[in-house]
């Protein structure tokens, strides 16, 4: 049997961070008491009518621009009809065959479409089952109902669970940069379903797919997709056939269970929403969306590589966390003469500085002024301060801020200069570690560790490691 290749497409729901809900004037909910952010419209009371949120359309256009989609000059809302207690009108207002954005690409994954719709309310099932069947009672909180959603659908261009998770992170950082959503998976403002099928590697035809729902973290997405790919692989290799169905992933047990089969699938009876006019995109709206665009993370990473000769990894580390990229650029801009090498500065921002801050903390909010970090990195690169001493200076900067040069001065952390100062200390270290000195002499380069350690202890870390090695070799006559 030929190798089986997974084919994965994602459907992402993004809650838009608009001021009000998709079709009414209620503010979005952030944990208010249940059913306090409601009105006749989002409760689906008789006689109420929807009015489309212009800011949601604006955000939708920004997403389309970011993904390189074709923006439809005219798109329409449809009603998606089905009964459920979290759907007060008995239909969801969504978009169907004329969505706001068509096509596009982000990274190595093509975009199929982007459309706008409204979120459902939140159902809570009281009782042991935790599901609507067998619950003692089910209660509905309509605060979330009507929150604007952008649904982003990819083409089936993803091949592995890791790729799905990595790509989703790229999408998240892109949406965050746009400022259109909180994109928080745990809080549900970013939700992802995966369509998964297998096919013999090298073939084009798609296999029968299943839809996997309820993966509410990046970890669960990887685990869920892996589990489903394995399930399908075993099924096919055992001579069985995949059945088209909607599946539920239980993150606790890792189990996959069927929600409904193709036969049980709803007939949503889509038809154009007669209460709303078509969304007609004019030049003014397009201009406003373009005006609101910021540099996207992928573009920024590419620019960092191009302009500052950063490694691809560093460029992405900085660009995909926009606050790090901002700090890096602010630091470069504030650098004096001599300026630090950009790659070294990038390493200090993404490595030493971030590791000294709290989880997710913006370095701009820390005590370390961008100019101070630039100065420090320039001093380290110029060997005026050793790497170890530089880290001590950074500790001090993080704790109380200040000027690195002054800290170096007051703490006596200036690098021990050339051979004159360092040579006697190296000689003493060799004398104190004769065994190590002997092994180095015999060609075991790694044995130099204890000698350098002794020098660093003596100099309180102010010596330059490279210079110490050079002196050791010189004094041992290597």
């Amino acid at each position: 049997m030929p190798e089986l290749e997974p084919v994965i497409g994602l459907e992402i729901h993004v809650q838009l961070a608009t001021r009000t809900k998709m079709f009414c004037g209620c503010g979005l909910s952030f944990g208010e008491p249940p059913n306090t952010r409601t009105c006749p419209v989002c409760l689906g009371l008789p006689g109420s009518l929807p009015v489309a949120n212009a800011q949601a359309v604006h955000f939708g256009l920004m997403i389309g621009l970011a993904l390189g989609s074709e923006l439809a000059p005219r798109s329409i809302f449809h009603r998606k009809n089905y009964f459920y207690p979290d759907l007060p009108k008995g239909y969801q207002i969504s978009q169907y065959d004329e969505p706001l954005c068509l096509g596009g690409r982000l990274g190595d994954v093509r975009i199929h479409r982007v459309h706008l719709e409204e979120d459902a309310a939140k159902l809570t099932h009281v009782g042991e089952s935790g599901r609507i069947h067998g619950s003692d009672e089910s209660v509905v909180d309509f605060n979330r109902g009507g929150t604007p959603l952008a649904e982003i659908v990819t083409e089936p261009d993803i091949r592995t669970a890791e790729q799905a998770s990595e790509w989703l992170k790229l999408l998240r950082t892109t949406l965050r940069a746009l400022g259109v959503s909180d994109v928080n998976m745990e809080e549900g403002s970013l939700r992802c379903d995966a369509n998964i099928s297998l096919r013999p590697a090298g073939t084009e035809e798609l296999g029968t797919k299943t839809e996997l729902k309820n993966m509410n973290s990046f970890r669960f997405i990887e685990r869920g997709i892996k589990a489903e790919v394995e399930r399908q692989r075993k099924l096919i290799e055992g001579g069985g056939q995949v059945v088209q169905e909607t599946l539920h992933f239980d993150p606790n047990s890792g189990a996959i269970s069927s929600l409904r089969s193709k036969e049980e699938a709803h007939d949503y009876r889509y038809f154009p929403e007669p209460d709303l006019l078509p969304v007609a995109i004019d030049e003014r709206m397009l201009a406003a969306a373009r005006e609101a665009m910021t540099e996207l993370p992928a573009d920024r990473a590419e620019r960092f590589e191009r302009e500052h000769s950063l490694s691809a990894e560093s460029a992405q580390l900085l660009a995909f966390r926009s606050e790090l990229g901002d700090y890096f650029e602010a630091s470069l801009a504030a650098a004096g003469d001599p300026a630090p090498p950009a790659q070294a500065l990038a390493n200090w921002v993404a490595g030493d500085l971030v590791s000294r801050l709290g989880e997710g903390e913006d370095p701009a909010d820390s005590n370390v002024e961008p100019a101070a970090l630039a100065t420090l990195v320039a001093m380290v690169s110029g060997k005026q301060v050793s790497v170890g001493a530089g880290r001590q200076v950074l500790d001090k900067l993080v704790a109380e801020g200040g000027d690195p040069a002054a800290i170096v001065e007051s703490e006596g952390l200036a690098a021990i200069g050339g051979g004159d100062e360092l040579a006697p200390i190296v000689a003493a270290a060799l004398e104190a570690n004769p065994d190590a000195a002997q092994r180095v002499r015999e060609g075991n380069a790694k044995a130099i560790g204890p000698i350098i350690g002794a020098v660093m202890r003596e100099t309180k870390g102010r010596a330059d490691g490279g210079e110490v090695t050079r002196l050791v070799n010189e004094q041992l006559g290597i």
Partner: protein, 488 residues
């Protein structure tokens, strides 16, 4: 006969303004008449589902909105009857359905808010076919309304309670809704004036929806002037209704008693086969009067109009099947008790709550929208709708207004058509094409046949209400129809 009963709404407003009649006196007069009709004796017409205790029951304008109009206002103190399906804050709004029994909305419909904001006072809610589905008001969960001209006959529908109340002098005027003829047909059968405005000119916010792309609020009045006056205070863009439009100018009160140079189009398709002889003869007589007033009669063609009913009975049920999905027992209205699970609760709530005609249309509409059938039914009906609108556009290039009988028959007997839905649907034959095209149309009484009123319908291009009202006023003045025979 009381002097107060003689006053049309416009004259009553003027009399109140001049201090000749007190607003409270007028309100008390009509409240007493309406309460008597709604009284326990059971010998009334059953026009009302709720009657005000006093002006204090006047609902405040819509939720979260500023009260419309200044204190006082041009309609100050004129009592208003409102079709049950308009939401009125704190006042039962049941759309003639068991499933909304006792439902009191937390907000008021925009159209009602505009009228009360202009000074009108909510007198009563009127009976109707359940969810406006019907042409006889026999489909109300609250019992049929009787025709004041002959109590063995229906008042038409679905705004039958509004029409009968105005015809019987139980309210000076009333608010109704028209989806395929639900203002015009009952107005015709009750011998009063009924106007369906251009789609979008009156906000639908707060109207319990039947078919969203067709529903439109409008006046049912004793005369054309009252219809113009009410319309003037209803129209306008509403931020709560995305399909509402700014009316291009203030609606003028009609004047002029001639029709010189007015080109009236008579479509062969709607003025021949299928129209009762007595109705046709009253209609033809009215056309002769129109010619005497200076109008030119032109034969025109509306070739797709005969397909209007077929398209309508796909589109309206399709939208209704979706609009009525919200009546699920979860949040308001009736809920079946002791259901075993969610599906059982839904099924029993809707089984018990909806009447037969509503269930029939939900099933029709659900079928028409189903996967695999959509193009054959809904898609095709939409294309017919477009063709009908094009027919009207072509016709209005050659004529100013189109004239037809409003309904194919005079008021029929209670129970006569309840067993045969298709014959009931034929009532809308002459009114549905205008609804599908979204254009305004008015019905005025043009004579009697077998002692029962016959309605004449005038239709014009979108937003031609003022011109249409002028022509209707001239005809009304010439025809001198006397409706006082229906006063209760």
């Amino acid at each position: 006969m009381s002097d107060l009963l003689e006053l049309t709404a416009a004259r009553a407003a003027a009399a109140i303004e001049r201090g000749e009649v007190g607003a409270e006196e007028l309100f008390a007069f009509y409240r007493e008449r309406a309460q008597r009709d709604a009284g326990a004796s059971g010998d009334g017409l059953n026009c009302f589902t709720w009657v005000a205790d006093g002006p204090a029951d006047t609902p405040s304008p819509g939720w979260g909105k500023e009260p419309g109009g200044a204190a006082g206002g041009p309609l100050l103190g004129v009592p208003l009857a409102v079709k049950d399906l308009f939401c009125t804050k704190g006042v039962p709004s049941q759309s003639g359905s068991r499933i909304l029994e006792g439902y009191r909305p937390p907000y008021t419909a925009s159209a009602v808010g505009k009228l009360t904001g202009a000074g009108a006072t909510l007198l009563a809610k009127t009976n109707q076919d359940e969810f406006a589905m019907g042409s006889s008001t026999e489909n109300s969960a609250y019992g049929p309304t009787l025709n004041p001209w002959d109590r063995a006959r229906v008042p038409g529908g679905s705004s039958g309670g509004s029409a009968a109340a105005v015809a019987a002098g139980l309210a000076p005027w009333a608010l109704g809704t028209d989806t395929g003829g639900s203002i015009r047909q009952p107005a015709a059968l009750c011998g009063i004036v009924g106007l369906k405005p251009t789609y979008g000119s009156v906000s639908r916010y707060g109207m319990i929806a039947f078919a969203s792309s067709l529903d439109q609020a409008g006046p049912l009045t004793r005369d054309v002037t009252d219809a113009a006056l009410m319309l003037r205070h209803m129209v306008g863009r509403d931020g709560c209704d995305a399909t509402s439009l700014q009316f291009p100018h203030e609606v003028e009160l009609p004047r002029g008693e001639r029709l010189d140079g007015v080109r009236l189009g008579v479509p062969a398709e709607l003025t021949g086969e299928g129209i009762e002889a007595g109705v046709l003869s009253a209609f033809r007589a009215a056309l002769e009067r129109a010619e005497e007033l200076g109008a030119e009669l032109h034969e025109i063609a509306l070739p797709h109009a005969p397909h209007g009913l077929s398209a309508y009975y796909v589109l309206a049920p399709a939208e209704a099947s979706s609009n009525l999905a919200r009546f699920d027992g979860v949040r308001y209205g009736a809920r079946a008790q002791d259901a075993t699970d969610l599906l059982d609760m839904y099924t029993r709530t809707r089984h018990d709550g909806f009447g037969a005609e509503v269930k029939r249309r939900i099933m029709l509409g659900t079928y028409a929208l189903s996967s695999g059938y959509y193009d054959a039914y809904y898609g095709r009906a939409q294309r017919v709708r477009t063709k009908i609108a094009e027919d009207f556009a072509t016709a209005f290039a050659a004529v100013d207004l189109i004239v037809t009988p409003t309904a194919p028959t005079v008021a029929f007997k209670l129970g006569e058509k309840t067993g045969d839905p298709l014959s009931m649907y034929l009532n809308d034959y002459c009114t549905v094409p205008m609804s599908l095209a979204g254009i305004p149309a008015i019905s005025i009484p043009c004579g009697l046949s077998e002692g029962l009123p016959v309605g004449l319908q005038l239709a014009g291009p979108a937003f031609s209400e003022s011109r249409m009202l002028d022509a209707a006023y001239a005809l009304e003045t010439a025809l001198q129809f006397d409706g006082s025979g229906a006063y209760a």
